[in-house]
Symmetry: C2
Subunit: 207 residues, 2 copies
Amino acid sequence: MKGEKLPLGVAARLARYLQVLTQVRKAGRRTISSQALSEYSNVNPTQIRRDLSSFGRFGKRGVGYDVDHLISSIKEILHTSCQHNIALMGGGKLGAALANSDLFADHGFNIEAVFDVDPDKVGKSVGGRRVLHTSELADTVRDRNIIVGVLAVPPEAAQQATETLAAAGIEIIFNFSDALVESPPGITVHYMSPAGELLYALYFYLT
Amino acid sequence: MKGEKLPLGVAARLARYLQVLTQVRKAGRRTISSQALSEYSNVNPTQIRRDLSSFGRFGKRGVGYDVDHLISSIKEILHTSCQHNIALMGGGKLGAALANSDLFADHGFNIEAVFDVDPDKVGKSVGGRRVLHTSELADTVRDRNIIVGVLAVPPEAAQQATETLAAAGIEIIFNFSDALVESPPGITVHYMSPAGELLYALYFYLT
DNA sequence: TAGATTGTTAATCGATTAACAATC
DNA sequence: TAGATTGTTAATCGATTAACAATC
């Protein structure tokens, strides 16, 4: 398989492997078998081997995959070897939880700045970053070449924040608020959906 | 299609529709077309119609789907018409963000209690619920018939919290911490993965 | 050698899409 | 009627799985 666009499913699974592998490396493991990777990622081990072998021979028979090597290989395939800056909208509880977590940093995403409209929050520190007023968003997005915005605002503020992000030139929005938003054409909104996954998991538990 | 187990993909998509529809109803809309539902859920409109029509005729040609009717129909298909109690581990920023959000409540999940090991947090209020000490978990799980636990603790506490949940009789764990955990057989751990979705979305932006 | 695990095949099943008649 | 949107077909493509030889 060459430099063409990957099928949706393959890209989604590679991203998932990458996420698990990053944690596995943090835990100090050097190699991992398709079986073990399967347990963490909920993907069939045969399919994992199939996905990986279509890009090269990454594994050692009888041993498994070298974690470091696999991580850098998948990063290359996904074109995510480099650092990306993101803008976080909302300095409240959810924003603080995201800013304090290593989730983004582990994968090369740098929370460049936190934005809020609340004067009480502006100037304070959230997750080690100064909170800027939303009016500074556009300049920051331009200067720091930001294309991803994360929505961590209350539901009633989500639409306004989306429009602010769009006007500032953001192209991909991750919506962590539980509100639907209308976005201008060309801007992709991804809804983070713990409840959706809950419903899905519960269905298989109940049947 | 009858009372048998749904294919994985169908169940996942139905859960996604349900989540979008719940927000659509909140916004006051009474009907929705497969086209509009597609934009919110990122699922092809033909596939939406296909998924739904395999369970019955829910739509009106030329009009679309009745939001209320569709919500209750999907809930029946997914066996999630009733209320479920869940236990939230962690009264910190992430725990507070989850407890304050309507995400769970919107879908019939009731955060029955918040648990923490920190004596400074126990007894305080998080999202309108008193924080209980983790030692009270087992009793609460039994009394309130809880099968789902949500991990919102720091990564270094995730393994301990998982074992506590398992010992208390929890069967499904949603791990919002960015740490891999080992769980006893029979207990399913779902990893919530914003970073995974970010990587995935970015790949399609970059290619 | 013995054990473990990958890489690969083959076969089946579900997902995806375009297209369009049916019908509100 | 005219416009819109569903329900359904047909055809292709990707996902899934078991099985096993290759090989570390």
